[in-house]
Symmetry: C2
């Protein structure tokens, strides 16, 4: 996407070159003059090691990804000092501790780089301390992709609702469970719906992460920590999954003019923030009841604007990639310039 | 609101003082050391002239509002040169030509001031030339309040979707007509629903502006000009109002699983943008069908993010005031600073 959108981001005054890639199982590559992203992606696709001879100056060098980040930020110390170094972090979430993503974010900031992650862990487990570290380093710590892919949530609040106080939110933030609940309304069985999500590559082989509400709880913690100044972790979010939802409950909800949705919500009341994820019978005329299949939405309660909702109607890898790109543009875009909106 | 939110915007690095107010029928006041906004609002409320002795250095001075803007920007030329002068424009829309708002915007930019308007006219009639004028002057021309009050639309796209191309949109953007259509579904008559909107101060005494779709057409032109790089005016938007909607049509739509909504839409196809406002039978499971009463929403079609929708669930004067405040913050906020999100 970076290559595809180079002209677009160029018009915004942003230019970027990939100088290093580190993977869990496919090696690493460092090349100050620029890594060919398409070639690297093709190699990973084929199962090759990206650090194989010819492709890299540091083939198969050992050590963790954090060590690689420390190494590269040290080599590029001048660029780091000028705020021109960005680390993009896309490890999967470890729901117990938020690692290794948190360590990667720290290593990046310690090395003077801005950091972008699509991982929910850093904001869900360690938002406050990482945000402080970023502030001290005068670097950005962005994570738009952590919730609803590239649909602006964190950027929406930060950039466009500066004087508004968010007092709470409720939303549908997990696609797998929403798809299963929608399928069950059509008469499909839980297992069949889950299996078709797995075949489509949307649900994990181990479905408990989605089905038991952990993914939604991690997103809820991240949202509450950032938008409501809470100090939650995924485990401190009240959580009930959809594994026990029966066809009878779905039918009874229908009969009562409702739809069963896995609702993530949080609310600030005075000094405390209460957050939870649980199946709710949502009245049919509620915005959240209307979300089919993989659609997601969050309704924000605010002090000055009453309620605002933002809705995602399609998701996928492109949207996740865009989340990273939009954060990159937020970092690289010249500030204070006056720019006309509109098409190229 | 500026006084009420002074602490909040102060934390964002924004401070502002009102130095002049000009009204159509209640005089004008200029006071470089600061105008007491609450006192001025109270005087207008009572029907007093705000330029009465003791309140102002230039009581009852004659001339148009544009002349007042030219006068004040000239007196405050030093502040203007430093980019510290902002003109906030809140005249009602003249649907034929977009004046006097366009003239006010030009006078402000000519005087070196940034300009904020809640009026749809400037963006609906003259977006391109005013945006160019602002660019040349290195000043901002903002109008978040023109569509859906303070809910971020233009700021949303500009600030959070920088690399996304909007290819079209559809939405419900006029509250009066949506309220009437909702009331008719409950069996109310068109006239009774309209009268209750008028009593609530939401519909104008002359309802044709809303009912015939002109308000929605002006918003559609503004959205299309800004987001789709169109060159429309309200008159070039295909337009059909709701005056001819019968209870029979509403009932027939219901029977077919639909709701009648006044839909504003535009689409870019190659070099041309087609825009229209007309009543549409929207399937009940469509997000736009679920909007009750005064709720508004816009669904954007994008290249990279599929569809995104933003929904406003409450509107009123507070929301309009917030639109102006959020634009003021966008102008005054120090750029390039790293700020942690969260509550005060």
């Amino acid at each position: 996407m970076l290559d595809e959108q180079r002209a677009t981001i160029g018009r915004l005054g942003v230019d970027a070159r990939i100088i290093g890639v580190v993977t869990r199982r496919h090696g690493r590559v460092y090349s100050p003059r620029g890594v060919d992203a398409t070639m690297v992606a093709d190699m990973v696709e084929r199962g090759d090691c990206i650090g194989s001879p010819g492709a890299s100056a540091t083939p198969r060098s050992p050590g963790s990804a954090a060590a690689f980040i420390r190494d590269v930020t040290a080599r590029r110390a001048a660029a780091a000092r000028q705020g021109r170094l960005v680390v993009i972090e896309t490890t999967p979430l470890d729901i117990a501790r938020g690692q290794p993503a948190i360590g990667h974010v720290r290593a990046a900031l310690d090395g003077g780089a801005h950091v972008i992650t699509a991982n929910k862990g850093p904001a869900a487990f360690a938002y406050r301390s990482l945000a402080r570290a970023a502030e001290r380093a005068n670097r950005r710590f962005l994570f738009e992709g952590a919730v609803m892919d590239g649909v602006p949530i964190f950027n929406l609040v930060r950039e466009t609702l500066p004087a508004v106080t968010i007092t709470g939110f409720r939303g549908v933030v997990n696609s797998t469970t929403n798809y299963i609940l929608t399928a069950m309304e059509r008469g499909e069985r839980f297992d069949a719906a889950l299996a078709s999500m797995q075949r489509a590559g949307i649900a994990e082989a181990d479905p408990s992460f989605d089905v038991d509400g952990w993914d939604a709880a991690a997103k809820t913690a991240a949202l509450a920590n950032v938008l409501l100044d809470a100090r939650l972790t995924p485990a401190s979010v009240g959580r009930e999954g959809i594994a026990d939802i029966t066809p009878q409950r779905i039918a009874a909800a229908r009969a009562a003019g409702c739809r069963v949705k896995l609702i993530a919500s949080a609310e600030r009341r005075g000094g405390t923030v209460r957050a939870r994820v649980c199946p709710v019978n949502v009245p049919a005329d509620d915005l959240l009841a209307g979300l089919e299949g993989q659609q997601n939405a969050i309704v924000f309660q605010t002090d000055l604007l009453s309620e605002i909702a933002i809705v995602q109607r399609g998701s996928g890898l492109t949207q996740t990639a865009y989340a990273l790109l939009s954060d990159l543009v937020a970092i690289g875009r010249p500030t204070g310039s006056v720019r006309r909106q509109g098409h190229p």
